[in-house]
Structure formats: C-alpha cells, structure tokens
C-alpha cells in the first residue's frame, strides 16, 4: 500500500526543520520521519506490551481481544508481560545514565591519580561539598582519590544506601524504606531487573513494578546525579550565559564541527581543541573563517550550559544538520545517535566520527577517545574536520536562516544566586500565588508527535498560567528554538510569573541542562520541600515528557513518580494491554508513592492536567 507523503508542516513546527525536510525530500534523502511512515502500521502487540521475547519457547503474544491466547507458553499473563517489558526498558534506561556516570567517575579517578592530564578540577568548592556528603574531610590530602573511590563503590555495592538519595526529604526516604525500594547499589538494581524479568522469576506485576521504581531511584538519585555533580566539579557549575539555538548557528564560511551524544568528557575536549590557535590557523589556510562548534542532543546541552556553545538542534534534527551540506564533522559518543547518520553523511562530504568503544557505526570514521590522551585525540578529530573543509560542495550548502537567542545555564546554584542566595523569594512568590507552581518539562523528540509541537505548546500554556517551567534535554532545546529561554519571553507568561521573571531578570523557562541533569530538578524539589517542611509529593509541582521516546525516559518518568511527582506522558507507553499495570501506574501509585503517571498526547489537555494538579496541591497546602 502506498503511504501518502506527509507535508513538512505535519512533521515539525520548527521552520528550520521544515525547510530542511523539504530540501531532503527533493534530494531523495531518507529521514527518521520517512522511516517512521514506512513502519506504519506498527505492531499492535508491541504497542500494547503484549508480546514477549524473553525465552525461546516464544515469542509469545496475548490477544488483547480475548479471543486468542491469554497467556504465554510459560503462563505469563498480560500483567506479567507488560510489567516485565516495562522493567527491561527501564533497566536499559537506568543503565545508560549510570554507565555514563561510571565513565565520568572513572575519569575523575584517573584525574585524581594524575593519569588524565586533559582534565582539571574547575570547582574545588563543589568538590569539597560533595566530599563532605560522603564523609570525607575536605582538607585530606587523599580527598580526591577517596571521593572517587566512594562514588565508584556505589555502582558495585551490594548493600547499604546511595549517598545522594539522602538529599531527599526524610519523609520521602521513609516511604522508600517502608516499601523496600530504597536502592542498595546502582548496578545491583539494574542486574536484578534483568534477573526478575527472566523466564520463571517474578510473576507478580506489583512486585515487578516496585523493583522498577527502586532501579529508577538508583538512576535519578544515583547514576544521573553522580554524573551531574562530578561533571560540575570537572567542567564547572553552569551559570547564566547567552547563546543561540537552531540550524542557523552553522556558519557558511567556517569549519562546522557538530558534537552529538551525551558525555561532556568528549565535547569539552572538542570545544577546547577548536580554540587551539594552530588549528584555527590551519582552518584559515584552507580558506575558512574559523572553527565553529555546535551541539545536538545532551552533549550539546552540556557545552551550551557551561560555555555558551550554540545548539544546532534537538534529536530529530541530527540528520537535517548533515543535510545542510555545511558540516565537516559530526563527532558522536553514546546514546540517541541514529544509526542512519552514516547514510546521510555519505551523501555529503561530512565525516561521521565515532569516538566511544561502546558505539561504532559501520562506514563511519572511528577515532577512539581515551581519558589519558583526551585532548590530543580531540585535536586530531578537529584537524580531520578542518582538513575536510575543502571537500565541501558549496553548491549544495543550504543553512536555514533560523536561530533564536537563548539565556541558559540555570543550575540549582545559579537559580539560588539569581534569587539572591536564598529560596525565600521563590517560596514567597509561590505562597502569594504569583508563581502558581513549578513544572518540569523534559524529554525527547518522537516522530509520533509533530517535532516540538508537544514541548512548545505545553510550555507556553503552562507559563501563560503562571507556572514556572524548568526544562532539560531535547525539550529545553525545543524551547530554546522557540525563543522561550529569554527574559523577554516573560511577555508570554501570566501576570504573576511575568512580574517575578522581570524582577529577577530570568526567563519563564529555565534551562537546567542535559537529561542526566534532571537530577538538578530533583535537588531543587528536595530543597524546596525541605524549606517548606513537606515532602516532594506535597509540592505544587508536576512533570511532563511530551515527546518521549527513549528507554532512558522510562527510567526518568519512574524516578519522578517514585519521588512523588505527577508525570504526564505525551506518547503512550507500551503497557496498555494490561489493565492492572495501567491502573497501578496511573492511579494506584499515587496512594503508595504520592506520584503517578498520566497519559495525555494533547499538550493543551496535558497542561490542564498539570495545572489542576498544582491547584489541588496548593489547596492541600492551604496556599
């Protein structure tokens, strides 16, 4: 059957994406949107979470209409299948965040031992604060080594607790302990997910999901938080800074290097290498004006937050960036890097450069990155990009003339400083109603949703109703491109929020960083809850992932819920084939952990759900 080609306006609200999609279509370049269309109809069993490939008696499927099989060969019913599938997705997501954190911690340890000369401590004060949390004396000569050892031990530890979980309010920790979901060790919980979802282990969907929440907590308050905190120590705590976002940041007369992926261990070095006078001179000798680094996805967010390196786009723009014909090298590490990139790159002069031993792409140039020689490798990578500049075909260059100015860099420390050093002005604004509540809008792009439509409309609706928005990841990049990350965007906010933003000189949407930096949002929630003497689940706050697609998002959603936050999903999770699992996640969880999921694909309705929740929370708090 012939599938009608959708118009570019049905695929994205971003004018830069629309322009590049039209151009890609004319050139016969296939994008994720085309492949998504070719996948239609997607398998109904998969959509409902009613298929299982966990053993070789299967694959098994359960008939959602009750006519065919109601159980797999082993006897697993819809509840078990949906819960086990969810658990495995969550484990993969938690593993991705935590393995990223492990690499950061290992690099920190090598740096402490003097074996990673490319890296330095940028924020000693923060390092001392972290050491104190781990019970390590700040003046100890082995402080760095001890901190590295303590942090790394939390990955492999079998018993005990994860240090940063104790940043949560005591009431929250008590709930986790009562339910038996206080995580014991980061890797242990992930491994146990795989064990429990093996054939013939856990057949109780409630028990499975409770362990899922424990694993997610080991991500949010463990792996992700460790990544954020050590990255801050090594690369600096973000502070407000201005930059630009969208494909228009690519420069027609410069060597364009795009960093894409997730770990700042690499992108920080690329940014440093691109400032090397020798390489800039080399670029000039090739006829370029200079070297322009731009980011995509979370590694883009990391260098945006800390150095103001411009953002070329979010997840669904990775192929479109190459299609501009103006990219000399796209340097990638791990996560959200589409395997399709090499086929787009091969249509242009662009070099796709993979750097992680964990993530290779056939056809791409592999320049493996190691902590000991990081800056040298980064220089080689940038040199390869510069030397590729003369291969650029100028007739094929098309850079959309769209980019928006942004103000970013809102770490918890930066927000506190914007508030004058104390949470009181924010608490006051919440109490007097000028700030109705706080919403975290995060997550990916997904071709199931018109690109950025979910993010931008939800966020606009929230700020219009005086809800202060904090954002990370591809959602923050969507807001960046839509001009929402500027103090001037306060004009789009309701009267109360507008006044607060204008008084503080901040945007109504605060970019808090990459996806692992959602841990910053947890820290902020904990601080606000502690200041008010309540639990996180009592706050006038809610979260949303309007265009989520990755397994990491499953873990994030689960740790948000387990931390007591109502979390609204814009795309449907693959569990609806089990009425019991669906009811537990969307209703039952509220009575147990205080948070729950809701599914609402329409961003305007999602805003309503979040605002109604915030209003109910305010009424309960008596404010």
């Amino acid at each position: 059957m012939v599938i009608m080609m959708k118009g570019v306006k049905d695929r994205s609200i971003d004018p830069a994406s629309q322009e590049m999609l039209a151009s890609a279509s004319r050139a016969g370049l296939e994008t994720a949107w085309d492949r998504f269309d070719k996948q239609q109809p997607q398998c109904g069993f998969g959509e409902l979470g009613l298929c299982c490939r966990h053993c070789n008696m299967g694959p098994c499927r359960i008939d959602p209409f009750g006519e065919g099989p109601a159980r797999g060969v082993c006897g697993a019913d819809a509840d078990v299948m949906a819960a086990r599938g969810l658990l495995r997705a969550l484990a993969a997501g938690a593993a991705a965040h935590s393995d990223h954190a492990r690499d950061v911690a290992l690099t920190f340890q090598m740096m402490a031992d003097g074996r990673a000369p490319s890296y330095q401590v940028k924020d000693k004060a923060k390092m001392k604060r972290l050491a104190a949390e781990y019970g390590i004396a700040g003046d100890s000569p082995t402080m760095m080594q001890d901190l590295a050892k303590s942090v790394l031990s939390e990955f492999g530890q079998q018993q005990g607790t994860i240090c940063f979980t104790r940043r949560a309010p005591a009431k929250r920790v008590a709930i986790w302990q009562r339910l038996g979901i206080d995580p014991r060790g980061i890797d242990r919980e992930i491994v146990e997910c795989l064990h429990r979802s093996h054939m013939g282990v856990d057949a109780d969907y409630v028990n499975l999901i409770l362990h899922g929440l424990r694993t997610a907590l080991a991500d949010g308050w463990g792996g992700s938080m460790i990544a954020t905190e050590l990255q801050d120590v090594m690369f600096g705590v973000p502070t407000p800074i201005r930059s630009r976002a969208n494909l228009g940041v690519l420069q027609a007369d410069s060597v364009n290097v795009i960093v894409h992926g997730h770990e700042p261990l690499l992108s920080e070095m690329i940014v440093a290498a691109a400032a090397d006078p020798e390489l800039i001179a080399l670029a000039k000798s090739k006829g370029a004006a200079g070297i322009n680094v731009a980011g995509i996805c979370c590694t883009g967010n990391e260098v945006l937050m800390r150095h103001g390196v411009p953002v070329a786009g979010n997840f669904l723009q990775q192929e479109l960036a190459i299609a501009t014909g103006a990219v000399e090298a796209m340097v990638v590490d791990v996560q959200c890097v589409m395997p399709a990139l090499q086929s787009v790159a091969s249509c242009f002069h662009t070099k796709l450069i993979t750097t992680s031993p964990k993530a290779k792409v056939p056809g791409a140039t592999h320049m493996e990155f190691h902590e000991e020689s990081a800056l040298d490798t980064a220089r080689e990578i940038v040199r390869a990009a510069v030397e590729n500049y003369p291969q650029r075909n100028r007739d094929r260059v098309q850079i959309p003339d769209f980019s928006s100015e942004v103000m970013i860099g809102f770490s918890v420390e930066a927000i506190l400083s914007a508030l004058g050093g104390s949470l009181d002005p924010l608490l006051g604004a919440i109490k007097n109603g000028s700030v109705r509540g706080i919403a975290a809008v995060v997550g990916c792009n997904n071709p199931k949703v018109k690109q950025d439509f979910g993010h931008v409309n939800l966020v606009k609706e929230l700020i219009k109703n005086d809800v202060l928005v904090v954002s990370t990841g591809c959602s923050a990049q969507a807001c960046a491109k839509a001009g929402l990350l500027l103090p001037e965007a306060a004009g789009m906010a309701g009267e109360g929020l507008r006044g607060v933003c204008q008084a503080l000189g901040i945007p109504p949407v605060l970019h808090m960083g990459s996806c692992v930096d959602i841990s910053r949002i947890l820290v902020a929630c904990a601080a606000i809850a502690n200041a008010l003497g309540v639990d996180i689940s009592d706050l006038p706050a809610a979260a949303a992932a309007p265009e989520w697609m990755s397994e990491k998002a499953v873990s994030i959603g689960a740790y948000a819920v387990a931390s007591g936050v109502l979390t609204v999903l814009g795309t449907v999770p693959q569990v609806l084939g089990s009425a019991n699992v669906t009811a537990l996640l969307t209703k039952g969880a509220a009575g147990v952990v205080g948070g729950r999921f809701a599914v609402e694909p329409d961003p305007f309705s999602a805003a309503r759900v979040m605002i109604d929740h915030i209003d109910r929370q305010r009424a309960r708090l008596g404010i």
């Binding site: 059957m1 109809p41 109904g44 959509e47 959602p64 209409f65 609806l576 084939g577």
Partner: protein, 167 residues
C-alpha cells in the same frame, strides 16, 4: 472491482491484519480503546499456520457464494454489483449453514451473540483495514488482472535471473 489477494509467500504471522480487522469493527475504531471494549471486537480474518507456512485466510466473496445461497432467512446476501457478501445480524438465526458450506472456514461468530460474522470488506474504508495493516504486503487490494500481472512480473524476473545465471 478490486479484491483482497494474498501473496502466499510473504506472511510472517504477525497477525497485524487480525488486530486491524477487530479494531476497525470496534466502536471506538482505535486499538487502545478497542482493547478495553465490551463486547470484545472480533476479527473476521484468520492467520493460520499450515504445513509450516503462515497464511491469512480471508473471505473470497465468491461468485454465487455458497454461504448466501444456503441462507434460509436472507441474512446472508450478495450485492449483485459489487459481489460483496454481507450478513444482516437482525435476520441471522445462528443455524450455521453458512459456516458449514464455506470452503475457507471464514464464517465466525460474534463474541456474545449466536450470530454469524464475516468479512464485510470494510464499507467505510477505501482500502480494507487488514490490507492497510499488513507490514509485509502479503495482503493486497487490487483488480484481479493487476494481481496476476504482479505475479507474472515476479515470475518473469525469476525466470530471467535463472536463465542469465545458467548462460
């Protein structure tokens, strides 16, 4: 008139056609809502496994359809122009004569009632739901001549390849 044809070598047994059929014949017409509907939506075609091969079995809407000719109450009728055989649930008495004479075994029954159920070729759709849902294009909706041409071109290509490799 286009018909539903089955390309016998392509089915992977994913049963997407069955799911799309049941969904199209549900009240909400979406998979998500259909999964929780009562009475349960029923499919009208069946993916069978025979002799190691997966095959979707769907009503052929035969000329001089046996199911229609044996129906004593006039519930099962064939449209003289489109040749589509449909059944009127009000008139069906559940005698199952139609099921007994169907050469393909594609007359089923409703989930709760004692009423025959069969393919109505999706009167609200340009392309039947099962065909639209088939990810491997096992099911196609086309004129008989076009389908034969499709097979003929495939066969000619196989012949040509065989001839060339021999030469």
């Amino acid at each position: 008139m286009p018909e539903i044809f089955v390309r016998l070598d392509r089915c992977v047994g994913c049963r997407s056609c069955e799911m799309a059929c049941a969904t199209e014949h549900s009240a909400g017409k979406s998979l998500i809502s259909a999964a929780s509907e009562h009475p349960r939506p029923r499919k009208r075609l069946y993916v069978e496994m025979a002799e190691g091969t997966k095959l979707p079995m769907v009503c052929r809407h035969c000329e001089d359809a046996p199911c229609a000719s044996v129906c004593r109450t006039g519930a099962m009728t064939q449209d003289p122009e489109t040749h589509i055989v449909t059944r009127d649930a009000e008139k069906c008495i559940g005698c199952w004569m139609c099921a007994m004479v169907c050469p393909y075994g594609v007359v089923g029954r409703t989930a709760e009632g004692r009423v025959a159920l069969k393919c109505d070729r999706c009167p609200d759709l340009d392309v039947p739901a099962c065909v639209a849902a088939c990810p491997t294009h096992t099911l196609v909706f086309m004129e008989a001549e076009d389908f034969s041409e499709l097979l003929r071109v495939d066969a000619a290509a196989r012949l040509a390849r065989g001839y060339r490799s021999r030469a």
